[in-house]
Amino acid sequence: MSAGNDVLLAVRDLRVSFGTGDAATEVVHGVDVTVARGQRLALVGESGSGKSVTARAVLQLDTDATLTGSVRLDGEELVGAAPRILRSVRGRRVGLVFQDPLTALNPVMRIGWQIMQPLLIRGVSKREARMRGIALLERLGVQNAPERFDDYPHQFSGGMRQRVVIAIAVIAEPDLLIADEPTTALDVQVQAQVLALLDEIADERGMGVLLITHDLGIVAGFAEHVTVMRHGAIIETQDVDSLFASPREAYTRGLLGAVPRIDGDSSVRLLSVDEIAVAPAGAAGAAAASAVAAASALADSDQGNPA
């Protein structure tokens, strides 16, 4: 884990709204996110917290979204940048791994073609793109890569498809990888494999990773820093160990407490986030304390355990 001091991605006071005029709704309210070169940041939150929107806003992929604030990649401002610049950033300096490999791949195009696209549009020869694509697939653990290169998405299993999606994201050798819930649509075992793969690739290439997820389980083993979001705003940001050991905010405690533990007492009801956040006193307070304890134990046990 290289810990460069260079700031790769600096998001400052980002506001994202959808719709126009009276129907305009602000979904992300002044968010700050920082990812240093080679660093891993997990952006955590429930559904609807705005984490996905924030991540996609980096590449301005939602065409009906309005952005204000600053998104700097390697010092270069992306908000309000010319389309030409955005296009050059996409794929080449920032790669995006999608959540659902089933829908993320074009069903009528061969996967090889899809993998080669980021290179072909940048003038790489077809032969070289093909070579690199096959090599990358092999590196990602796809058997028989040369033959499978010309297959269609429906001929692959979920885990394999996700490897293809990862290949598309990293083939142009970006500096930053944004992974939007990359394992949510996968089986538990496959989740572990895919995360391990992301880990290795990021390491090998010194890529920074912005991991979007709601799953605290994978955060512990993967990320170095964690930013927690709720309702479109940042709740707290810490390095992963501190977060699990002593979360500053009640909401975070609640999140941690809501994670079921395999060795937890099944007779104790899991707390919902709102309970913690709203009423820390009395019985709930005691419950909160135990939740924190449970969370710390969780962090401890996961410490030496890569996801």
Partner: protein, 354 residues
């Protein structure tokens, strides 16, 4: 994949069989007594009876049906009571002219309809979309026969830009080899005749294709809207592809599936619509032929036309089914069943509830 082809082929056969049955039924219920017609107007009762036996009309219906089918398979569509020639021969002579018109209209259809639909989908919600949709609405609601007359009025009588009717200029003749004027002119090696044929095709083509363009544009728009919303399009964008590339290279291919279906069906519908266009423009073709046949009670000619158009329709759809195999790799693997063609078919054009 084999199963898919077999299934579509089977369906085509079933439909054709149904058509044959339908034709037979129509023959039975059409007024007029074929025996009497064959025997001539001044025939005696005995002569008519003899004719009846000769034509096999005294046999039970089932036997007649079998013979009917037998004749059909031999290519015998009966004799026209008007021209006294074999219906098949008549149709073969006039069909190419209609096909010529339909092909031109289909080309115009695709060339205008597809980009229009893509454009409207891409600019969904903006003014350009609204404008396209108004055009589409107009195209679908204007009666074909009326449009033809209007265009004649405007471009021919008033502006004098284009010929009023006919397939060639006044006094021009071309040796009929294929039956399609443009091809014949080419085969004869006469550029001026060819050009004249093309010029005479302009108004009929525009008339015929107007409403179909509307439907195609609508279908394209709606399937592109779905496609453009999909994840793989966003992914394509995320790799840095230009908007054009994203829409056309990544997106359109998917939309081609429903688009090709509708275009295949339109081929048959266009051929049917020739009944409304050919007479207006004084063109020969199966449309004009059918109209004349109906008005003159030319029984076998009518049946023959129905069967011919039906066959073209069935064949066109089967070819589209095969095309789908090429477009959609999931079909090749035997995965997705093709969406059933079940929406009430628009006729001259108008809505397909897509």
């Amino acid at each position: 994949m084999i199963r898919y082809i077999a299934k579509r082929l089977g369906l085509s056969v079933v439909v054709f069989a149904g058509l044959v049955v339908l034709s037979f039924v129509l023959v039975q219920i059409l007024p007029g007594d074929p025996a009497r017609t064959a025997a001539g107007r001044n025939a005696t009762a005995a002569q008519i009876a003899a004719e009846r036996i000769k034509l096999g009309l005294d046999q039970p219906l089932v036997v007649q049906f079998v013979k009917f089918v037998g004749r059909l398979l031999q290519g015998n569509l009966g004799t026209s009571v008007v021209t006294h020639r074999a219906v098949l021969a008549d149709i073969v002579q006039v069909l190419p002219s209609s096909l010529e018109l339909v092909v031109c209209a289909m080309i115009l259809n695709i060339v205008i309809g597809v980009p229009l639909g893509v454009f409207a989908a891409y600019r969904r919600g903006k003014i350009a979309d609204a404008a396209s949709r108004i055009l589409i609405l107009l195209g679908a609601a204007l009666p074909v026969f009326w449009l033809g007359l209007l265009l004649q009025l405007l471009f021919s009588s008033t502006l004098n830009w284009l010929p009023l009717y006919g397939q060639l200029g006044f006094g021009q003749h071309v040796r009929s080899m294929t039956g399609a004027t443009t091809l014949d002119a080419l085969l004869q090696g006469s550029p001026s005749l060819f050009w004249s044929a093309i010029v005479h095709l302009v108004l009929p083509t525009v008339t015929l294709s107007a409403s179909f363009i509307a439907v195609v544009a609508r279908t394209v728009r709606s399937s592109m809207v779905t496609t453009l919303d999909s994840d793989y399009v966003t992914l394509a964008r995320a790799t840095g592809a230009s908007e054009f590339r994203v829409v056309v290279r990544h997106g359109l291919r998917n939309a081609l599936i429903p688009i090709s279906t509708i275009i295949g069906m339109q081929l048959g519908w266009m051929l049917g619509s020739t009944v409304l266009v050919e007479s207006t423009f004084n063109r020969t073709g199966i449309g004009a032929y059918t109209v004349t046949a109906v008005l003159q009670n030319d029984l076998y000619a009518v049946i023959g036309s129905i069967l011919t158009v039906g066959i073209v329709f069935i064949v066109a759809n089967f070819l589209v089914d095969l095309l789908q195999l090429w477009i959609n790799p999931r079909l090749r693997a035997g995965l997705t069943p093709r969406a059933p063609r079940m929406t009430p078919q628009p006729l001259i054009a108008a809505e397909v509830a897509s």
